[in-house]
């Protein structure tokens, strides 16, 4: 009897809990022009740790003390990106979302299932609180494009926050030693990598050309640099399962087999680059300080675009996360937007770029003393900045996280020697990815 009662009680608890799940307030139409009266407290969920977290806190403190509208932003660290997603997913069930959260594009697409993400278009275009035409044009187009979601009526659902791009780290000392320059095309890259290989007296390789980092974004970068595209025009199927990908994967396999490339674990590519165990690493521009800290002796190095099929039409992949605003009250929404807008201002984005090594989101950030001074020592930071225009966003469709796994599994299978027919493996991955897209419609 007691047991029955207990079960009934448990059912009721669960039922109450579930019934109220995921019921966000109705969408506010145009509330971008209201006035803020009285204090507004906001919470921002993020993933930054260590020095970056301190830098972010400094900027937040500055905003809190200077915004003049009694807006207070509180930072809350919520783990890695996947852990942050996990928290947001749970918070959606309980109706306990923060006002703002850092998010990848595919996260935003998922959250939109629950219709909890604020459309920023009315705020951007608000005469009173928005951005001027010039100011909007000053933000790099690919950084805005990635936050527009074709599947949700092309709305602007998030705003650039921690941006970077996929570039080639080149050890210039090695290049000088073998009489080469940083390769511009993939053919040059392959030849230069082979030339950089050095073997010890025991026949073991002591220096490789290329330390390969297996990652879906990097794969996307290879495809883009070979003139391929990632999604079909209607966004219903992937487009990376074509010849550019086959060429890229075939080259990777060929270079592993002939001993000019290898796959290090985790972040070891940084150490290997720093100890001249590899001449090239292709990675995010944001890793710069970590590379530098692994240099035992100073190394001459450069940061250039990844090799291309046609350097005149250079393209690479855009990395990094954005910030989304969740629907709440008109006041909190506006206050959140004002913070996001402030953070993307030239001065702030420059400061954030210098302290965190992410890319500034505005062109005019280059005119700030902050960046000019920083680039005197961080020459590679300037080299990366000059490539932003060539960076292309990754697909922002639902299911992209699973598609990433499909791509990475395919690459890892090739590396492990489990694939005999690379074109077939690429095509098969494409079929799997298209099924994921279909399941997520």
């Amino acid at each position: 009897m007691r047991l029955k009662l207990a079960i009934i009680a448990a059912v009721m608890v669960v039922a109450t809990a579930c019934s109220g799940a995921a019921a966000p307030p109705p969408a506010a139409s145009t509330q971008a022009d209201i006035d803020l009266t009285g204090p507004t407290a906001l919470v921002l969920w993020h993933t930054q740790t260590g020095a970056n977290a301190k830098a972010l806190q400094d900027l937040i403190d500055k905003f809190n003390s200077t915004n003049g509208k009694q807006i207070t932003v509180t930072l809350q660290y919520q783990g890695s990106y996947t852990q942050l997603y996990q928290k947001n997913l749970s918070a959606i069930q309980a109706g306990a979302l923060p006002e703002l959260a850092v998010a990848y594009e595919s996260f935003v697409a998922d959250y939109m299932k629950a219709d909890v993400v604020l459309n920023l278009d009315p705020y951007v275009s608000s005469a009173k609180n928005g951005l001027t035409k010039e100011s909007l044009a000053d933000i790099y187009k690919p950084y805005l494009d990635t936050n527009r979601f074709p599947q949700f009526g092309n709305q602007l659902l998030s705003f650039p926050f921690t941006k970077s791009l996929f570039l080639s780290y080149n050890n210039e000392d090695i290049l000088k030693e073998i009489g080469k320059t940083a390769p511009k095309t993939w053919d040059e890259f392959e030849a230069t990598s082979a030339a950089a290989v050095k073997k010890g007296p025991d026949g073991k390789t002591t220096r490789y050309g290329w330390a390969i980092t297996i990652n879906a974004s990097n794969f996307n970068g290879w495809v883009l640099s070979r003139g391929g595209s990632l999604m079909s025009a209607d966004q219903k199927t992937v487009a990376w399962d074509q010849q550019p990908a086959i060429d890229a994967v075939t080259m990777m396999k060929r270079m592993i087999d002939n001993g000019s490339a290898y796959v290090p674990k985790g972040f070891d590519y940084q150490t290997d680059f720093g100890t001249a165990k590899a001449a090239f690493v292709q990675e995010s521009s944001t890793g710069r300080p970590f590379f530098v800290s692994s240099f035992k002796q100073p190394i001459n190095w450069s940061l250039t675009n990844i090799p291309q099929k046609d350097p005149a039409k250079a393209a690479t992949v855009q990395y990094g996360a954005n910030v989304a605003i969740f629907k709440s009250t008109p006041e909190k929404q506006l206050a959140s937007w004002l913070f996001v807008k402030w953070f993307a201002d030239a001065q702030q984005t420059a400061e954030w770029a210098v302290k965190s090594s992410y890319m500034p989101v505005r062109k005019t950030a280059a005119d700030t003393d902050t960046l000019k001074n920083a680039w005197k020592t961080d020459t590679q930071g300037k080299q990366a900045f000059d490539q932003i225009g060539s960076s292309v966003p990754e697909p922002n469709v639902r299911g992209q996280q699973d598609i990433r796994t499909v791509i990475e599994d395919m690459l890892n299978a090739v590396v492990a020697g489990k694939v005999t027919d690379i074109p077939a493996a690429v095509k098969a991955a494409g079929v799997k990815a298209n099924q994921i897209l279909k399941d997520n419609q």
Partner: protein
């Protein structure tokens, strides 16, 4: 007293005992019902609906169909086979090793305290910290494991990044497919698990050994029993409640395995370490498919339930309670 009065007294006593027992159970049951049973019940509910980020239409058993024979069948059965392999590797080894170690440690001997402390160390190390250490030991470029392999003339291995089977590697690629055996990565995770839990099981066995009255041993010694007979005729039977407990807990733990995977490999490489526990987490919290994750969780619970019932049926008959 009349027979009626006796019966009434007995009834009252039984009633009193019943009430007292329920009172003893109440605090624990309250917490368990609210946080475990209700949660499990909610999982059953979630598995009956379309629940993709947000709850949708009632779908009956459709989610189970998707998981068992539909679009998710391949990954479900794959992770189930990983789970069973992992359980088959870890549980028997853990029990045998820890039983032997505990028995040796229980003897009066010099340095017993030091040994005990050393053996407990892995278990008292948090999984996250221990996972960090093992990742470091198994690092393909800078790790200690490869250094040891080099000393005995074996080439460097990729350990947690190696999707190829153990037997495939040993046979130089001759054995493939099913015969390739568990991936080296899964072997690595299993080594970590055994290392981590040995101390835990040694603790349990030691407590069990402590509960065996020394009089039994003294009596047997007087009867002229030797060490080996003491172990097989007294220790093993009298320790059987503990052994049964350890076996049950270790099996359930292995079938639910998640933390080790989360810390060590995230299910990779090529999903060769993706246990069902990790798959459920992945479907729930990385794909937002609460419905399918819940269905998988219910299926895993049923599987564990069957395993445990089997263990109870087969083993408890042989378990000897004092």
């Amino acid at each position: 007293m009349t027979p009626v009065a006796v019966r009434a007294t007995r009834r009252r006593r039984i009633l009193a005992e019943n009430l007292l027992a329920y009172a003893f159970l109440l605090p624990a049951m309250l917490i368990l019902i609210v946080f475990h049973f209700a949660g499990g019940f909610a999982a059953v509910v979630m598995s009956l609906f379309k629940w993709d980020i947000v709850p949708g239409a009632f779908r009956g058993l459709d989610n189970y169909q998707t998981v068992l024979v539909g679009a998710r069948a391949e990954e479900f059965w794959h992770s189930l086979s990983v789970t069973l392999t992992y359980t088959a590797i870890t549980v028997p080894l853990e029990i045998v090793i820890s039983l032997v170690l505990a028995y040796l440690l229980f003897q009066k001997m010099k340095g017993r305290g030091i040994y005990r402390t050393l053996y407990y160390l892995p278990y008292i190390t948090s999984v996250i910290a221990a996972g960090v250490i093992f990742n470091w030991l198994m690092n393909p470029s800078y790790g200690l494991f490869n250094q040891v392999l080099e000393l005995i003339g074996i080439g460097p291995q990729k350990w947690l990044d190696e999707p190829r089977g153990l037997l495939e590697l040993i046979s130089g690629g001759a054995l493939a497919g099913w015969a390739a055996g568990p991936s080296l990565a899964l072997v690595g995770v299993s080594l970590f698990t055994i290392w981590h839990f040995i101390g835990f099981q040694v603790v349990l066995f030691l407590a069990g050994l402590g509960n065996i009255s020394s009089e039994y041993y003294e009596a047997a010694r007087l009867d002229g029993a030797n060490e080996r007979q003491l172990f097989t005729k007294i220790t093993l039977p009298l320790l059987s409640p503990t052994t049964f407990f350890v076996a049950t807990i270790a099996t359930i733990g292995a079938l639910k395995a998640f933390n080790q995977i989360y810390v060590m490999t995230n299910g990779g490489p090529l999903e060769t370490t993706k246990t069902l526990g990790y798959e459920i987490f992945h479907v729930f919290f990385q794909q937002g498919r609460i419905d399918l994750g819940a269905a998988m969780a219910v299926l895993l619970t049923i599987l564990i339930l069957l395993f445990t019932l089997f263990q109870f049926r087969v083993a408890e008959r042989r378990v000897h309670y004092g």
